[in-house]
């Protein structure tokens, strides 16, 4: 009995020591996850999620403080990518697969106040004071900040017009479960 007691105690002590050492040797510094999450997010730092910029949102996501559906400009695709990265089973059906949007200036209403121009996080609005502004399509992330500040409602988010170049086939709908009775 004494043998059992001593041998098991010593074994426990040695294993404990090994684990303690291992914990020090293999300590993970920082959080690689946050960096990967930042890569997934749009990076326009628009702040619509309520966190300070995309890095703040990534931090919150990594700590589980925010749902993967937090990014409105990212839409469904980003939500799915985040869920996959975090390994969570998110219900993304609530996130409407937003038609890609873009800001457009209605020239007859624009007074050239430059407010939209100042808040745009990606410098996608061109123009100067007292001149009608216009949107540089390639740079607009449809974050909607310009829409918020525009005093005359001349800036509005509109669906991106489909072009021959961007058009592609819809997903076929004739499916197995299509036979579901109404």
């Amino acid at each position: 009995m004494i043998t059992a007691l001593t041998s098991l105690t010593i074994l426990g002590a040695i294993l404990g020591l090994i684990l303690g050492v291992a914990a020090r040797v293999f300590r993970v510094e920082g959080n690689a996850l946050v960096a990967e999450l930042v890569d997934i997010l749009p990076g326009s730092q628009c702040g619509q999620c309520g966190f300070p910029g995309c890095a703040g949102a990534a931090q919150a996501l990594a700590e589980g403080r925010a749902p993967v559906t937090l990014c409105p400009p990212g839409g469904r695709a980003v939500a799915i990518a985040l869920a996959a990265k975090l390994g969570v089973d998110a219900d993304v059906s609530g996130v409407q697969d937003s038609v890609p949007m873009i800001a457009e200036v209605r020239e007859e209403l624009c007074i050239g106040c430059t407010r939209c121009f100042k808040v745009c996080p990606t410098d996608a609005i061109m123009g100067a004071a007292q001149q009608i502004h216009s949107v540089f399509r390639e740079a607009c992330t449809a974050c909607g900040k310009c829409e918020e500040v525009c005093p005359t409602e001349s800036v509005k988010l509109q669906p991106v017009p489909v072009t021959l170049h961007a058009w592609y086939w819809n997903k076929p709908v004739t499916q197995t479960m299509q036979t579901v009775a109404a």
Partner: protein, 494 residues
Amino acid sequence: MKLFKLRGGVHPEGWKGLAAERAIRVLPLPERLFVPLQQHVGAPAQPLIKVGEHVLKGQIIGASQGFISAPVHASTSGRIVAIGDYTAAHPSGLAAPTVTIESDGEDRWLETDSPSDPFSLLPEEIAAAVGAAGIVGLGGATFPSAVKLNLSRKNNVRTLIINGGECEPYITCDDRLMRERASDIIEGVRLIRYAVGAVDVMVGIEENKPAALASMRAAAAGTEVQVIAVPAMYPMGWDKQMIRALTGREVPADGRSADIGVLVHNVATAYAVRDAVRFGRPLVSRLVTVSGGAVAEPGNLEVPIGTLVETLFQYCGGFSEKPARMVLGGPMMGIELFTAAVPVVKGTSGVLALTAREIGSTQASPCIRCSSCVRACPVGLLPLEMAAHIRAGDSNAAVSRGLKDCIACGCCSFVCPSHIPLVHYFNFAKGELMEQERGKLKQEATRKLADERIARTQRIERERQEAAEKRKAAREAREFAAKQAALQTTTEVA
């Protein structure tokens, strides 16, 4: 000549009899022609004319833009009445930039000087002439031919293959062309051979076209051109399939046929090359098969580019019954037209009006994993698995199973007993992936812009602060000096 083993492929009902025995007829000149500015793979052409201007047949109206592009020419003489969007021959039904020409009825060619002997030209000059004539791959790929010629010459292409494989059901325009204008084609072939410096020339024609084979063999007699019968199957007209049948080699997935020393051109392209080099005539018309169970008198027509499809149907006696579907191109890869008011373009080989019986059932049922599609796929893909992944929303998994190698030939959908629209899935996924790719590029670009903006605002803020500090220091210095001065004054006063 030994032929090499092929795999996959299907044998759809040919329906060639509808039009194969009808000799080529020239379509009477239509009143208006709608010539799209992009009829080829690559960048669209830039319009060179203004509304109201008068043009001659063969006059350039759109200039090629960039390396991979082709010019567009007026298909007849007349007046430009519009330059703007017109419904394109595209499944989306969207409009594309199009030049509308009102014919003056004279059909007068632009005067050009042509060489007495085309073989006296330098190879580069032939390629240039082909490029200037706006010739693109007429088998349907519409890749600018001059680009291929130049690339092949640089790659020391040894073998020239002329693709006489017309495997799409109904379509007989190449068949007729080979039967009726074989010696012109052979001359075109020899010009291409000369232009790229190829050694061997093979013309592959499916064995179910004995008349075309005979006439081409007769025309090729005594030249270095070999005419070879290949098995009749679909997709024999796929250039890589033709290469495999004739040479036994495969084009690397990441490469081009020039990488293995082979250049493939369609017979109709060879015919157009001959016209362009010998007579300086650009590509302004082509042969189009009008066929299908609903067409009263199917036939093969020589049609100016830009003619509306409805004109073709009208000329062929209209419809004998209401067509269930109008198709531009062949039934395997063609696109459905929801209106016949779209123009014929350089890549249009046929227009079909099909009855419901010819189309067959399209009601989809669950996949039973019968793997008919696997056996039918000429590329060696697993269509059923790819479609299952795409259906589940995982297009990337489909890519890892070869989605990007898919040529959308339609063999899998054709044989599927469950009538699953497999190719539709693949094209959806390809489009989706392309959109993702574009989105990613845009995201990177906007991120850079946002970072720049943040850096700039920080810099401005910093500069403003520095300036403020400077001002403050200056003010303090001034005040100090003033004080000192005041002090001094007081002292002086005192």
